[in-house]
């Protein structure tokens, strides 16, 4: 029993009201109510949380303050320029930065196309957001569905701000991606006859969410990783990129890597570079907890931006309404959307529902923030933060005993580890920083606005407009990882070894920082967050 003291008392309110809530339909918000709660409470609309960039190709662009702070940093190489004319430690056709799903997919395709490939990654290969995805991956591979129907869902969900060619590539490649993964021996949920089991996700008009139990991302990641190792592709772990190297024509031609263990800087020369460094949840915008892995610190965006790559929608961040809040060990951890899907309802301190449980992620998050901070009806926690209940036991009342154990085993295990039995006790939740909707601008081959620099995965922007639907991110990392890998290999074949390697772009960026005073003493990219829990 993790709920003692004051919280233990408050649980009783939830228990008291539970039976009276079964089968009662809480009204959805009207369009006006939705707009209102978003504008007042969604962090994306809170002007205090943003500032305009003072330097670089998108000078003037609006970014979350914490992201702008890492964009406007001095390079780690400011006072220690490595000798780029010496023989590089690594010399390949395609350098892939980041060992998550996008990086692994890119590596496999580049290798298959005949290129020599190196993956350099910050943590272990596979320590990545990809490993953490539980829910699923979308693809239109049913008779009542088509890529065009999928497309409409993607752009509608993305507020019609998606780049059409990117959204087209996403949905058209989707069935090919599932087939590619199936052939590689990925263990998707299937019926006896081999048919993929698919369900709905938020904003889907067809049941096209494929899953591998509630470890979908992990299953995809470990399969890709195994195959990369089977193919003999070189992977260097605990080696983070800190800056790009350009050639005499200003094209990407490698990167300077930092060995986290020996603290040495090494240079890697490459004909093409694929940035697959993932998201930025660990920047903790506005102090929010995050569902992201330890290395999600926007490094690729920072490095790419310095080299002149443009960004798009980088100010658009997805908050997931149901992050863990208590016990403190669960802070920020994702409570899968399926929990609400099965009927778990958000409740305030009085045990009263205050929002329809299946509102979209942005609206549900905003409603929770309102309940905690304006109406002051959140559940105060000993850790000093406020939260709301997510009444999971009602699932058992509605769908029968045993439903939670069958349908939410990973969730049940996670809470049980810290003393909460979600079958009989409600969860305590608070919105968590989940996904970076935008990133570095790419085209359908994954090419950024810098020649020979590709970007794939969560670091890329434009595919999802300003709101990504569940299941389309695992999809995009494989679609654009593969496309970037193929195209980079193709381009590399036509090229001779890059010459005139330099870091002149850093000097130019530093001059801008000096002129504007934008960087203070900050150095970037962040590489690893620093926690003290004080």
């Amino acid at each position: 029993m993790a709920y003692t003291g004051n919280i233990g008392e408050l649980v009783k309110k939830v228990e008291e009201s539970r039976t009276s809530r079964v089968g009662v339909h809480y009204p959805r918000m009207t369009q006006e109510e939705r707009r209102d709660v978003l504008e007042k409470f969604h962090p994306d609309y809170n002007t205090d949380g943003f500032r305009n960039l003072k330097v670089g190709v998108n000078k003037g662009a609006r970014l979350p303050v914490e992201m702008a702070d890492v964009f406007e940093t001095w390079s780690r190489l400011r006072d220690r320029k490595p000798d780029l004319q010496a023989d590089p430690v690594y010399d390949v056709d395609v350098l892939i930065i980041g060992g998550g799903g996008a990086g692994a997919a890119a590596a496999l395709e580049a290798k298959a196309a005949g290129a020599s490939v190196l993956i350099a990654t910050k943590l272990r290969f596979g320590d990545a957001n990809t490993m953490m995805a539980q829910g699923g991956i979308q693809a239109a591979d049913k008779e009542n569905d088509t890529p065009a129907i999928h497309y409409l869902d993607v752009v509608g969900g993305g507020r019609f701000e998606n780049i059409p060619e990117l959204a087209r590539a996403l949905v058209m490649d989707a069935p090919l991606v599932i087939k590619w993964l199936e052939d590689m021996g990925t263990m998707f949920d299937k019926k006896e006859d081999g048919t993929m089991i698919t369900i709905h996700g938020g904003g889907t008009s067809r049941k096209r969410m494929h899953a591998a139990r509630d470890y979908t991302g992990a299953e995809i990641m470990r399969t890709l990783r195994d195959e990369v190792l089977n193919k003999g592709i070189t992977v260097v772990e605990f080696c983070a990129a800190v800056d790009l190297i350009l050639d005499q024509n200003g094209r990407a031609a490698g990167a300077v890597l930092f060995n986290l263990e020996t603290e040495q800087y090494l240079s890697a020369r490459a004909k093409t570079v694929i940035m697959a460094t993932g998201g930025s949840g660990r920047l903790h915008y506005r102090g929010f907890p995050t569902s992201n892995h330890y290395g999600a610190t926007a490094d690729g965006l920072v490095i790419g931006y310095r080299a002149g790559a443009k960004i798009i929608y980088a100010d658009s961040i997805q908050y997931h309404p149901t992050g863990g809040a208590y016990p403190p060990q669960l802070l920020g951890l994702l409570v899968t959307e399926k929990t609400r899907g099965l009927g778990a309802t958000p409740l305030n301190i009085k045990g009263e529902q205050f929002v329809y449980h299946l509102e979209t992620r942005d609206v549900a998050s905003s409603a929770i923030l309102k309940e905690c901070h304006e109406r002051k009806l959140g559940v105060p926690l000993p850790t000093g933060i406020s939260s709301v209940w997510l009444d999971s036991p009602i699932i058992e009342l509605t769908h029968g005993e045993g439903t939670i154990e069958r349908q939410l085993p990973a969730m049940m295990r996670q809470f049980q580890r810290f003393g909460v039995d979600i079958r009989t006790e409600p969860m305590l939740i608070y919105p968590t920083l989940h996904y970076q909707n935008g990133g570095l601008l790419i085209d359908e081959n994954g090419l950024s606005t810098v020649e020979n620099l590709y970007v794939a995965g969560e670091a890329a922007g434009g595919i999802h407009g300003t709101n990504r639907l569940m299941g389309n991110s695992l999809l995009d990392i494989i679609v654009f990882g593969r496309r970037a890998g193929r195209h980079a290999a193709f381009v590399s074949k036509e090229m001779s070894v890059p010459a005139g390697l330099n870091l002149d772009h850093l000097d130019a960026f530093h001059r801008e920082l000096e002129a504007t005073g934008a960087a203070d003493g900050r150095v970037g990219p962040m590489l690893l967050p620093h926690y003290t829990h004080r």
């Binding site: 943590l123 272990r124 596979g126 320590d127 990545a128 490993m131 953490m132 591979d141 049913k142 088509t146 890529p147 065009a148 129907i149 497309y151 409409l152 869902d153 752009v155 509608g156 019609f160 059409p164 949905v171 058209m172 069935p175 087939k179 199936e182 052939d183 590689m184 021996g185 263990m187 998707f188 299937k190 081999g194 048919t195 993929m196 008009s205 139990r213 470890y215 991302g217 992990a218 470990r222 195994d226 195959e227 089977n230 003999g232 263990e261 892995h293 330890y294 060990q329 994702l334 000993p382 850790t383 085993p409 295990r413 996670q414 580890r417 810290f418 690893l528 926690y531 829990h533 004080r534």
Partner: protein, 230 residues
């Protein structure tokens, strides 16, 4: 955190590689190490129980029993003597999935040590995911890759099983190979998926989507609002 709240939190003694640190009892081992002043490099990945980066061995003061856990998924306790396993040199057999079959003959070539299992159950006892590791090794020995795939599925490949095995089996890699063999050769392929992929490659889906791309936003918006939901 206000001081008042801080005062209410009980502190416990944690011995990280033998050195004593006093940390709040509400922390996980991982957070406890950070509270003590460590900046983690190895031993920390997802921080949520999915990646297996944070395998930890510990023992309680005065006790002889060696315990294990995932540092991000285990609360600190008073008197814990602990160390993280930064890396485990487990062997991975490389293979061409298209050139092998789900049979014991092939499997024995990749992982011969699997057939030397002594049945000591050390692997099962340490698994932080509560997987019956020894049982899936037995299924693999029998060539029952479907069952091995099924019960090994929740493996996060933390390597603790391997660290305890007296005959040097690399369970997690063997299990992954079993799952890939099962999924590639025993589970049936999705027939319609193959048909749809073929259709896309032949360009059969182009005109429908190009029509959408060429329509203006008002039309798209209207279509979106009126779209039929399954």
């Amino acid at each position: 955190m206000s001081d008042e709240i801080k005062d209410e939190i009980k502190m416990v003694d944690l011995y990280i590689m033998g050195k004593r640190y006093t940390v709040p009892e509400t922390l996980t081992i991982m957070d406890g190490m950070e509270y003590a002043g460590y900046q983690l490099k190895r031993g920390c990945g997802c921080r949520a129980g999915f990646c297996g980066a944070c395998a930890t061995v510990y023992r309680m003061v005065g006790d002889y029993e060696l315990k294990v856990g995932l540092a991000c998924q285990t609360k600190v306790e008073d008197g814990m003597y602990l160390a993280q396993i930064p890396f485990f040199p487990g062997r991975k057999a490389t293979f061409d999935l298209e050139a092998i079959k789900p049979s014991t003959a092939y499997f024995a070539q990749l992982y011969p040590e699997v057939y030397r299992c002594l049945g000591c159950s050390s692997c099962t006892k340490v698994c932080p995911q509560d997987i019956d590791v020894m049982q899936y090794i037995a299924y693999i020995q029998r060539g029952d890759f479907a069952k091995a795939a099924d019960i090994s599925f929740d493996c996060v490949m933390c390597g603790l099983c391997v660290s305890r095995c007296p005959v040097n089996i690399v369970h997690y890699n063997a299990a992954l190979t079993a799952r890939r063999l099962y999924s590639r050769y025993i589970a049936k392929p999705d027939a319609f998926l193959a048909a749809r992929s073929g259709a896309i490659e032949e360009g059969a889906c182009d005109s429908e989507i190009d029509a959408l791309i060429n329509s203006d936003q008002a039309t798209l918006q209207d279509m979106y609002n009126k779209r039929e939901i399954e």
